[in-house]
Amino acid sequence: MKSTTASQAAPTDLATTGTARVRKEPRPDGRGPRRGIRRQLPTSPWLFAAPGLAIVGIFILYPFLSTLNNAFTDKRTLIEGDYVGFANFQELWHDEMFWIGLRNSTLYVLGVVPALVILPLLLAMLVQKHIPGITFFRSAFYTPVVASIVVVGLIWVWMLDERGLVNALLEAVGVGKAGFLSDQWLLLLSAMTVTVWKGLGYYMIIYLAALANVPRELHEAAAVDGAGAVRRFFSVTVPAVRSTMVLVAALSSVAAFKVFSEVYLMAGPTGGPAGEDTTLVMLVQRVGTGLTGRVGYASAISVVVFVVTVALMLLVLRADRKEDA
């Protein structure tokens, strides 16, 4: 499974939840290999691991290393190119398009992450109680996660069109039309809304798993003490799912910074009016592909994407540790 878009990063990331969580119980005895089973042929363990190692090595790790390498060359699509030192990065510094991309990707994180940390938690609390029909609602809320990002993008392009449903409704209630797909800032905001809409169900499931681990007694005790619903939310629920909130913040901020499909589909390949809605990954795709693709320059932008995503991860995790202390 590839994770090329924010949406597809979703399944990927969910599983990390598992590994990232702190184990509460000690590992049961005898989980790892012990002295017992050892006498297989010396080659056979490698036969097991070989297909996976080969694919990951050739198509993930090697391209990663060559991206780092290419960033310092003037390589083009059909031309090998020479080492040029930091020339690509110097050019980036003066490239207006790069700063637009960096601005939009950063705005995306700032806009999307708070919504994706808070709204899915409220949604999870809404679908948590086992009342008749709740499984239907859970699956229905998950449907946008399942739908392909292209389908989702095109549905919203139609909904937000000048003559689309949203504008028709706005007009019917007398607010008047808005240029969701033509105004630079409204377009970015619309794309963010779509990202949040598509991600809600996914993060809802992560929160549901976390809420299942909150002891009922805590809520009951707080209720006996006279705490209302709002008070209980802030003094019982939020502290109990805090580590999950940090995880959601980390996952969603990394995904948001690398946004491509939503903006590409809604703003078009050139990134909206005068390219003002281009994101960094859109810029990588535009600069680096085609017969005249500047592979070296696109790689330099990719390196910036790596550095910022790693920095975002560290930032979120650090904020978590500080609150612990």
Binding site: M1, T12, A49, I55, I58, A140, T143, P144, W156, S261
Partner: protein, 273 residues
């Protein structure tokens, strides 16, 4: 729960439901509206007055939508097989077998999982060209055909299987392949199902990578074909809507059938680790 709370809950649930499902229904409604029906009416009309399947035929006349769907299906099915087999084998090697370099192999998969795919697509594209696989479905499939994340998922699943059972089989003379196939694999069926579902959806939904690797319209997958349809026939919303319905319907049906296993498997994965 007091009655007012139950009522409030259902009201909220229905409001959210409208928000999450409404756009899909609106798309379906647009796809079913005939050529003489005004799709821009104000106030908007949700039910087509004269529902027709004509738009679906027109999509097929405009782009080879069934060929694109078949291409997507091929890639997705192959992705399921390669991920299940490759991840199970490698996961077993990481969890259960003992050899020099096991730690190193684990680290390779962890590192690979951390690499952001969006940042390496240009280099992946170059690699693919060096292998002469650009513009082929094999090229679409290969980079994700055994994902590091699935390997680690399977590793965790195998770690949770009690070791004693395998030890007993070993004493009875079962070799490593027999132990893998007959004992370990049946014990991790749940995780394998989750891997299969994710692999299918991931491949069926993928957009950026096929967009880069495929240039020949004859070989497009459905997502790229839809983007092409949207770019070329942006004025005819009925047509684009019909195309998206063709792309999303199989997935929604698949998901509706499997959702019970899906939520159970995901829930287990998230809680247990």
């Amino acid at each position: 729960m007091p009655v007012w709370e139950i009522v409030l809950r259902y009201l909220l649930l229905i409001a959210v439901l409208a928000l999450m499902i409404g756009p899909f229904l609106w798309q379906l409604s647009t796809a079913l509206k005939g050529p003489h029906e005004n799709i821009f009416s104000s106030p908007p009309k949700f039910l087509p007055s004269d529902p027709t399947l004509h738009n679906f035929e027109r999509v097929a006349d405009t782009i080879p939508v069934w060929d694109y769907a078949l291409n997507s299906l091929k890639v997705a099915a192959a992705n399921v097989v390669t991920n299940c087999v490759g991840a199970a084998l490698a996961g077993y090697a990481l969890a259960r077998l003992r050899y020099r370099g096991r730690k190193a192999a684990t680290i390779v998969f962890i590192l690979a999982m951390l690499v952001p795919v969006e940042g390496i697509i240009i280099a992946q594209f170059t690699t693919m060209r060096e292998l002469g696989l650009n513009n082929t479905l094999i090229g679409v499939l290969l980079p994700g055909c055994v994902s590091a994340l699935n390997v680690l998922l399977m590793r965790n699943a195998f770690l949770n299987v009690p070791y004693e059972i395998e030890e007993a089989a070993f004493v009875d003379g079962a070799n490593v392949w027999q132990r893998f196939l007959r004992i370990a694999l049946p014990a991790v069926k749940g995780t394998l199902a989750v891997v299969a579902i994710f692999a299918f959806m991931g491949a069926w939904d993928d957009f950026l990578w096929p967009l880069i690797v495929l240039s020949d319209p004859d070989r497009f997958t459905l997502t790229i074909g839809l983007n092409y349809l949207h770019g070329t026939f942006a004025n005819d919303e009925r047509l684009v809507a019909a195309g998206t319905v063709i792309a999303v319907l199989p997935l929604i049906i698949l998901f509706a059938c499997l959702q019970r296993y899906f939520f159970r498997g995901v829930g287990e994965g998230a809680v247990k680790g």
